[in-house]
């Protein structure tokens, strides 16, 4: 007994030490006492024990990503959590064993002394279980929340140091145009700041036309059209690998209600044209395997806060976009889907006489949830560099596991693989189009007379 208490206090002490960190925020993982205070909509599937078997891979990926992550800290936290959990399990087993013994003799009057002893032991062990609860919860939260910050595995094709160009259409232009100046001269753009801009006349027609053309191409490629809401809850944002408490990465809406503000249960403005919006639809839902693969798209808004001192269509926080979301059963089906999307991107962007290229993004430029990203880039003369106007991101089952998006195959719960991205970002596309050598006019295929049959 003394031995048990010794380890218990040692672990408790260690836990406390490790737990002396600022208040932890997670909308995704809520346990213990917090779980009774807050409604827990979804509990992520934790694959860390499996993942930790390949520690070298994790460390290698972190290095390639140049990701600032203290893996030793996670190992420590996980160790403490495991120890406490084992301890709790031991107590539970002990309690069960004692209860069984007690059950055997409880009706036997002559064993009164033994019965009382067992009862006392059970009371003590129950007390131990009760006492270990809080530190266990605390250790679990510390370990899991830290583990949830661990990035996705890198895909084999993701280049290590430099982006890799996989396709080029036409040759780059040489001029020193600036889309803001052209836009103002032609009365096409009024930009007050990155949160507040207007596209006028032909620029607004360009916006709609560009979306409608893409919508048409996607429908012809058997994508199903969606129309999505713009708000998501914190749990979805964190589930998609974005820090929901950071106003530089996601817009947080004002808390309108009289209830107390809980930073893990806010509404966020991401726009319907976002992965978050599709995950809000799919989180905690089960599919039948026969419906896979799925290919969805929508035309919507995308809102991303921008911290930039200079105002341009390349840095605005609101964009009209065409967003897609595709789901396959397994990682092996993803390649075909990826090829399909590259073809669609080529199909769309080569309809115009503009130079563009498709490249595979380097590991250190990926978001933590991405394992591979393809970017469509156009050259911006004003920036003297390529700007990304579209992307296709592979996240595999990383987000499915976090948000319990599942399918059941032969009575086994599995996690589908996700490919998603912004196929068209209108303000960025328009910025590059305005900086082309030729003077701006709405391309014929985008004109209103071609919006219908």
């Amino acid at each position: 007994m003394t031995m048990i208490y010794k380890t218990y206090f040692y672990t408790l002490f260690k836990t406390r030490n490790l737990l002396v960190t600022p208040k932890r925020y997670s909308a995704l993982f809520i346990n213990g006492a917090k779980a009774t205070e807050n409604y827990v909509y979804v509990t992520p599937y934790l694959d860390f024990p499996e993942k930790f078997q390949n520690i070298n891979n994790i460390k290698d990926d972190l290095k390639k990503r140049k990701y600032n992550y203290n893996f030793e800290k996670l190992e420590d936290l996980w160790h403490v959590y495991e120890e406490l959990r084992q301890k709790r399990n031991q107590y539970e087993q002990q309690k069960d064993r004692l209860a069984k013994e007690l059950g055997k003799i409880i009706k036997n009057e002559s064993e009164k002394e033994a019965i009382n002893k067992l009862k006392l032991q059970i009371t003590l062990i129950k007390d131990d279980i009760r006492k270990i609860k809080a530190p266990l919860w605390s250790a679990e939260e510390a370990a899991v929340v830290e583990a949830l910050k661990l990035p996705n595995n890198l895909h084999d094709k993701t280049p290590e140091s430099h982006s890799q160009i996989v396709y080029t259409h036409l040759k780059p232009l040489k001029n020193d145009k600036n889309h803001i100046k052209i836009g103002q001269d032609l009365n096409l753009i009024t930009i007050k700041n990155n949160e507040n801009y207007y596209l006028k006349g032909d620029a607004a027609i360009f916006e709609l036309g560009a979306k409608f053309l893409f919508s048409d191409i996607l429908k012809k490629n058997n994508f199903i059209q969606f129309s999505n809401p713009d708000f998501v809850k914190s749990v979805i944002v964190e589930g998609c690998g974005i820090n929901h408490t950071n106003p530089d990465t996601v817009f947080i809406l004002h808390h309108n209600e009289d209830t107390q503000i809980n930073s893990d249960s806010r509404l966020h403005l991401t726009g319907g044209g976002s992965l978050c919006s599709y995950m809000a639809y799919h989180a905690k839902n089960v599919l039948y395997p026969k419906v896979l693969p799925l290919k969805y798209f929508n035309m919507g808004r995308q809102y991303v806060p921008v911290a930039s001192d200079f105002n341009s269509l390349l840095t605005v926080s609101q964009a009209a976009v065409v967003e897609f979301f595709a789901v396959t059963k397994a990682a092996t089906d993803i390649d075909e889907m990826l090829d399909n999307l590259i073809e669609i991107l080529k199909q769309y962007y080569s309809r115009f006489d503009y130079h563009f290229r498709i490249s595979m993004t380097a590991a250190h430029q990926l978001n933590m949830w991405e394992s591979l990203r393809l970017s469509v880039e156009m050259y911006s003369s004003s920036q003297q560099k390529y700007a990304t106007i579209a992307n296709v991101s592979l996240s595999g089952d990383f987000i499915s596991k976090r948000l319990m998006f599942t399918y059941v195959d032969n009575k086994v719960t599995k996690f589908p693989h996700i490919l998603s991205g912004t196929l068209l970002n209108v303000p960025k596309f328009l910025a590059c189009v305005l900086e082309q050598d030729n003077d701006f006019c709405v391309p014929d295929i985008l004109k209103p007379e071609n919006w219908s049959l």
Binding site: S227, F231, H254, N298
Partner: protein
């Protein structure tokens, strides 16, 4: 069009009589003081407030005006009194069109298309149809994207796109200039349009003030964004009327537990095509009829039954001088529902936003602004789908829309988007 956004322009108009003395003091809108502060108009204004929503206190306005005219500008109380006066002025409603002044009930001005006869068949409601045909999800979304969220998919989402194409094309043909607008706006723009941001917290979404600055709201309608674009602008009389149109997201925080507003009838977010017109003071009355006509021309080919109502004073928002509402018959609900409206706001918004035009005599006058809904998606879909439902379990697409939907004639049951099953969490 000439955009002048500098403060100097603002001051030239607002403070032409006061000189540069208060250059650093607060900017006040140029309310029509000659009218609102003239005791001769006291009764008329009081009566106008009474027949409208009863908001505003003209006695207080007159009283404050009396005090301020007797207070020296050097008096330390002057600025405070002025602020009070302008606050009292800001909530006074616009004048009311003489034709509707004595009215208490909406007057049916026009009716378009007869109600469809379904015979023995009892038409379904929108939400039942979309459930049966698997075209929309509205259930169990509160925990992931908030109360009253909805997703359209398959041919319903295609129909939304088709309606936007159809409406925008019509407006472009009618000489409207298309504008793509921001959805995040400064609160003063909303206030200038007649929304009270402080007292209408329940109607307006805003960004978290601690994280994103104190002043950013989500646009409730493109009318606000377009008004914001035109703020502090001077127009050449020859450029008027200026007809603008926008396709935008609209955000409304208002909630409703009314049974008749179930489903997507009243939602927090939706797409809308909006018209916004700037005219001279002489043109606005006629322009309201032009806008109404445009709306009727949009709705008629869609085959929905619509009645146009000339709204009585108590139904007018603070900004409106006259307003038409368009109500469509929704056969599934067996009720009329408002799908559109148009208002003449005369100089109510332009005085607050400082939008002027230069007359031929080189005088500056406040423009008149008008706005109208060309197509608000959710209710338009309710009216369309309920009207064109076919007993055999499909929806007939109006002919005029078919060419915007790749020639499709019907909306059938969607089998491509799987129905979802919520996972049960084991604890």
């Amino acid at each position: 069009m000439l955009y002048i956004s500098s403060l100097i322009q603002n001051y030239r108009i607002v403070y032409s009589t006061k000189g540069f003395k208060r250059f650093f003091s607060q900017i006040y809108p140029n309310y029509n003081l000659q009218y609102y502060c003239n005791p001769k108009n006291h009764e008329e204004i009081k009566q106008n407030i009474k027949i409208r929503k009863g908001v505003g206190d003209v006695d207080r306005v007159m009283q404050l005006y009396k005090i301020i005219t007797k207070t020296s500008e050097d008096n330390h109380e002057y600025e405070r009194i002025k602020q009070d006066l302008y606050e009292a002025l800001s909530i006074l409603p616009n004048k009311t069109h003489p034709f509707v002044k004595g009215k208490f009930e909406p007057h049916i001005a026009h009716e378009i298309n007869k109600k469809k006869d379904f015979g023995e068949y009892k038409p379904f409601e929108f939400s039942e149809i979309t459930r049966l045909l698997n075209l929309m999800r509205i259930e169990k979304l509160g925990h992931t994207c908030g109360h009253k969220s909805y997703y359209f998919f398959g041919e319903l989402a295609e129909l939304e796109e088709a309606l936007i194409k159809y409406t925008v094309k019509k407006l472009l043909d009618d000489g409207f200039q298309l504008i793509s607008v921001p959805d995040i706006l400064a609160s003063n723009v909303l206030e200038s349009c007649g929304m009270s941001v402080k007292s209408d917290r329940t109607q307006i979404y805003s960004l978290d003030p601690h994280h994103h600055g104190t002043d950013l709201c989500l646009s409730g309608t493109a009318e606000m964004s377009l008004a914001g674009l035109l703020a502090n602008s001077v127009h050449n009389i020859n450029d008027l009327p200026l007809k603008l149109a926008a396709v935008s997201r609209c955000y409304r925080a208002e909630t409703s537990n009314l049974a008749e507003e179930r489903g997507i009838y009243r939602v927090h977010q939706f797409n809308k095509v909006e018209m916004f017109v700037v005219t001279t003071s002489e043109q606005s009355e006629e322009m309201l009829e032009v806008i109404r006509n445009t709306q009727e021309q949009i709705f008629t080919p869609l085959g929905i039954s619509v009645r146009v109502l000339d709204m009585p004073p108590y139904e007018l928002g603070a900004a409106a001088y006259r307003k038409y509402d368009m109500e469509a018959w929704m056969p599934g609900r067996q009720a009329y529902g408002e799908i559109s409206s148009c208002s003449n706001c005369t100089d109510y918004q332009s005085r607050r936003l400082n939008i002027t035009y230069k007359t031929l005599n080189d005088e500056y006058c406040y423009v008149h602004t008008l706005n109208g809904t060309a197509c608000a998606i959710p209710r338009m879909l309710i009216a369309l789908i309920e009207t064109h439902q076919h007993p055999k379990g499909k929806i007939i697409i109006p002919e005029t829309i078919q060419k915007f939907m790749n020639g499709k004639k019907f909306i059938m049951k969607n089998t491509k988007v799987p129905e979802l099953k919520l996972l049960k969490i084991k604890r």
